[in-house]
């Protein structure tokens, strides 16, 4: 009876080893099967024109996109597949989770060849070695400069842009028939209005800290986040407490003290505009859908009013296609990007499905009649790219918190900007 366990253990080991061997064996058989069937398929389809002697394996291209953008590329893909015989697989990944997912899956060998993302990911992903540079080559001139700048990190272009977005001014045409040229004009227009709850609605007050929406106040009179030369940022040169930034912040403080700009968060600003009790609302083109879906408010879009006598330079975000440095089909992926997406048809499909201001010159010309889209495009042309260096991570919190303090009247404008700049400097220099 004592010996028996040994026998069973031995038996078990053999059993386990056989199983493990079977497991891996089956995989190879599977792989073999698919390869052969693919070869058969390729040879039959290319028979007529084939000149190479080698049998080609089926080429797959994996693209990660979120639901909305997937719809856009799905329109272009059948044409690409027909023309090339490449099998394109679209995998849906939540846009908010995409950057982290790509960063983990790529190095593990399970990432996409191409993914669709935003310009503020570029610095971090490129620093981590996840992105492959892209040469637009002859197509470079088809795209507006600000879009390419947004996807450029340390002087290298890392993506194919397809849309830009920057904030502009929505105004209620019943309350304010004409767009204000300056913030003071907007305030003066509100002085005559009755039954309004707030004059200029911008998120970034109350509990809605938002450096992105507040940045026009920093940039209008010459303030900046990081100085840049030729698209290369210097994270040690922080301009949040420069004279320009402070005079913009003082203009903001005056608006707050005059009661023109209530301390609202995003939903507060949006709801009041949609209720018709707020004549001006500053935000981006992503709300065009919500406005088109309602019929309470008559509205139009204008460029941002001047602040402290300067033209505000809003942050410009760029949406684009990125190529993973872990892709094993780079030639195929670049062919897809440059020969199919970077064309008028590809870009038109992206615009039709996504609706953000286009970056391809031909599409810009084609949409010139759309007042809202071209105004948002013009606002983006005034703007500056969101610095895409990883150090930007330290800016959102510091700048947003301190701008909110001005909005809430807890700190004076100058102190707030000095605090913001100091916090960024310390974080960068640590």
């Amino acid at each position: 009876m004592q010996k028996k366990p040994v026998i069973w253990l031995a038996l078990l080991t053999v059993f386990a080893l056989v199983l493990a061997a079977c497991g891996s064996g089956e995989e190879t058989v599977d792989a073999g099967d698919t390869t052969t069937s693919v070869i058969a398929e390729t040879t039959t389809t290319t028979q007529a024109v084939t000149t190479t002697t080698e049998a080609a394996p089926m080429v797959e291209l994996v693209i990660w996109a979120d639901e909305n953008r997937a719809k856009a590329i799905e329109e272009v893909i059948p044409a690409f597949e027909d023309k090339t015989g490449v099998d394109v697989i679209i995998e849906l990944v939540d846009f908010g989770a995409m950057k982290d997912q790509v960063g983990v899956a790529g190095p593990a060998g399970e990432g996409p060849d191409i993914f669709i993302g935003a310009s503020d990911w570029v610095g971090e992903l490129a620093t981590n070695g996840i992105l492959e540079p892209i040469d637009l080559g002859a197509k470079a001139d088809d795209f507006i400069a600000s879009a390419k700048d947004g996807l450029t990190f340390n002087g290298t272009l890392y993506g194919l842009p397809y849309a830009v977005e920057a904030i502009a001014l929505y105004y209620n045409t019943d309350l304010a028939p004409e767009a204000p040229a300056t913030m003071e004009d907007a305030a003066a227009a509100c002085a005559d209005m009755v039954d309004i709850t707030n004059c200029i609605g911008v998120t970034g007050g109350g509990d809605g800290t938002d450096a992105y929406h507040m940045y026009p106040f920093v940039s209008a009179a010459g303030g900046y986040v990081f100085a840049s030369t030729d698209g290369i940022y210097d994270p040690t040169d922080v301009g949040l407490d420069s004279a320009g930034a402070i005079s913009g912040a003082l203009a903001l403080e005056t608006l707050v003290k005059d009661g023109v700009m209530a301390s609202v968060n995003y939903d507060g600003a949006k709801n009041q505009f949609l209720e018709g009790t707020e004549p001006f609302w500053i935000t981006g083109p992503w709300e065009l859908g919500a406005l088109n879906d309602q019929d309470t408010v008559n509205w139009a879009v204008a460029k941002l009013p001047k602040i402290a006598d300067g033209t505000p330079k809003p942050f410009v975000g760029v949406q684009g296609f990125f190529l993973s440095s872990f892709s094993e089909n780079k030639l195929v992926a670049q062919t897809f990007l440059l020969d199919f997406m970077a064309t008028e048809e590809g870009m038109a499909a992206m615009f039709a499905a996504d609706g953000r201001p286009p970056v391809h010159n031909a599409i810009i010309a084609a949409t010139a009649d759309d007042a809202a889209i071209s105004t948002f495009g013009a606002s983006a042309a005034d703007g500056v790219p969101i610095p895409n260096i990883p150090e930007m991570g330290a800016v959102w919190g510091a700048l947003g918190d301190n701008m909110a303090a001005i909005r809430n009247g807890t700190v004076d404008a100058e102190t707030a900007m000095v605090n913001a700049a100091t916090a960024v400097r310390e974080a960068v220099n640590q």
């Binding site: 366990p5 290319t46 080609a56 080429v59 610095g123 609202v264 510091a398 301190n402 310390e426």
Partner: protein, 533 residues
């Protein structure tokens, strides 16, 4: 095994009968072993020694528990132990490991991946060099590239493997052939390949280059190419563990997960163990230390107050509903359960809206009663009150449920006896009800403390740590607790993400919580020994 015929099932005294159950056991354990053996190559290839050891231990435990005749209790404990090691022990060990590495933006790959990445880099010729038209031809001597520069200059020649030595006379003479318009379909013996054929051999084309005077031409897409200077930019030397940069002609040394060239760090870097640097930073860096202590203090206050408030409110309501003269008990019970029944993340967002200083219903109510609005989420003190208030609202139904049950379990005779002895209601509550309640519910209170100590969802959704502490050198809010502070620090550090620093703080939270819990359980034990049966 039926005993319809009145025969007792055959069961030998030995546990090694050849019953179906035994074979089933053997097969299941065998499958587990097989899965582990199949996983070994993957684990070894990824060099995950910790996971390898942990899984190995688990598999050994399973084998021993189910095959050894001497492990009776083991059979019942083994599944639990396996889950504890995989879902509790392993994450803690891994977090501990991450906290002693340099895992942050710029250092996420392995060294091998970084070297491959850098060695793929080529020295490109900017401007004209990025913009060549390309056609690829197939002929007797292999594949040939035809590249045309924007200025009209064309190059046609046999392509070679980029890993091979350059060919001196790769170019083929094309005089007399018109190469100005569309590129021709046939040149000499060479015929142009179509898109479909090209993409079928894309992997092969990627490895090819064409030598021209002053550089090499590399396919970028099937119809465009770029000009690069010959050779790769970086070359790694495994013997000396250095990297040579051909463009700047410098040798880069490895230093803490990065190649350093002339004192300049080269990105990307890789992950290495750097020891206790992150812990040193938490204590040594004045910026982080000051914020850390501030957050820690509020964290303790928040967790203790949350438990106290929910406990008192829950107990008070449970006590009130116990009273015989109370009417409509069922109605009140259902009302009190509502905050517990709504998913917390929804009601927290609703509360955030209700507490909005300008448009929230709470301030509207206060103002309609003649008061002035309260800056609920924008003033430090009020935000703390709001956080505690909302957490009490969220947490009291749980305590109410627990206390209702626990109160039922306290024998009425004890209370009656005390009443007969002349004790007041308050005295009965203080000396009989409360101590007996604590014996049974103290572990739950400790659990509630531990949960609230790390109540990330509440803080993140209600205030996101805000309002910010004005002038603080690191982004820290008045209502930040350690875990939300850690989240900000890990996700928005000075340079992208800093997972290693975040992990170091998480390990410290774990140690603090473990110590507090251990102390509390000891205290509970004392209660039990005094009041327990």
């Amino acid at each position: 095994m039926t005993n319809s015929e009145g025969v007792t099932p055959k069961r030998s005294a030995s546990s090694f009968s050849l019953s179906p159950g035994f074979w089933l056991k053997l097969v299941v354990v065998g499958l587990i072993d097989a899965a582990f053996i199949a996983a070994i190559p993957v684990l070894v290839a990824n060099q995950s020694w910790m996971l390898f050891g942990l899984l190995g231990l688990n598999v050994l435990l399973i084998n021993w528990a189910y095959l050894s005749p001497r492990s009776n209790a083991g059979k019942w404990l083994a599944p639990g132990l396996v889950f504890v090691t995989i879902f509790v022990v392993w994450p803690i060990i891994y977090t501990g490991y991450v906290s002693v590495t340099n895992w942050a933006t710029g250092n996420v790959l392995s060294q091998q991946q970084v070297i491959t990445n850098l060695e793929n880099e080529v020295i490109r010729v900017e401007g004209e060099g990025t913009n060549l038209e390309l056609a690829i031809y197939d002929g007797p001597e292999g594949l040939a590239f035809l590249a045309r520069q924007p200025d009209g200059a064309t190059y046609f020649g046999i392509a070679r493997q980029s890993s091979e030595e350059p060919i001196e006379d790769a170019l083929i003479d094309t005089t007399g052939i018109d190469l100005t318009g569309d590129l021709p379909d046939v040149i000499n013996d060479y015929s142009k390949l179509g898109l479909r054929e090209l993409l079928g051999i894309a992997g092969q084309i990627e490895a090819l280059v064409l030598d021209i005077p002053g550089g090499v031409i590399q396919a970028q897409t099937t119809s465009s190419a770029r000009l690069i200077q010959a050779g790769q930019r970086y070359k790694y030397d495994a013997e000396t563990d250095t990297l040579y940069d051909a463009l700047r002609d410098v040798t880069c040394v490895t230093e803490r997960g990065n190649f350093v060239c002339d004192g300049q760090r080269l990105d990307p870097g890789w992950r290495v163990v750097t020891g206790f640097d992150n812990y040193q930073r938490i204590f040594g860096d004045q910026r982080i230390r000051a914020a850390f202590i501030k957050v820690f203090n509020w964290n303790i206050v928040f967790a203790v107050m949350s438990v106290l408030l929910t406990f008192s409110l829950g107990l008070a309501l449970a006590n009130a509903l116990q009273h015989d003269k109370m009417r409509g008990k069922a109605f009140y019970r259902s009302i009190f359960i509502i905050p517990y029944a709504i998913p917390a993340f929804l009601s927290i967002i609703v509360w955030r809206g209700l507490l909005n200083a300008n448009f929230g219903q709470v301030n509207a109510l206060i103002e309609s009663l003649g008061g002035s609005g309260v800056p609920w989420l924008t003033d430090g003190t009020w935000a703390k009150i709001a956080v505690l208030g909302v957490n009490t609202w969220l947490g009291f139904p749980y305590m109410f449920l627990i206390m209702s049950g626990a109160l039922q379990a306290i024998p009425n005779e004890l209370k009656e006896a005390a009443m007969v002895d002349g004790a007041s209601a308050w005295r009965v509550f203080r000396s009989i009800t409360l101590p007996l309640l604590l014996v049974s519910t103290a572990p739950l209170l400790i659990g509630s403390f531990a949960f609230n100590f790390n109540n990330f969802v509440l803080i993140f959704l209600l205030t996101d740590g805000g309002p910010a502490v004005i002038g603080a050198p690191v982004p820290v809010g008045e209502t930040d607790i350690l875990i939300s502070f850690t989240f900000d620090l890990a996700v928005n550090s000075g340079r992208g993400n800093n997972f290693a620093l975040g992990s170091a703080i998480v390990i410290m939270i774990f140690v603090a919580l473990a110590a507090i819990s251990a102390f509390s359980f000891r205290f509970t034990k004392r209660l039990e020994s005094i009041y327990g049966n």
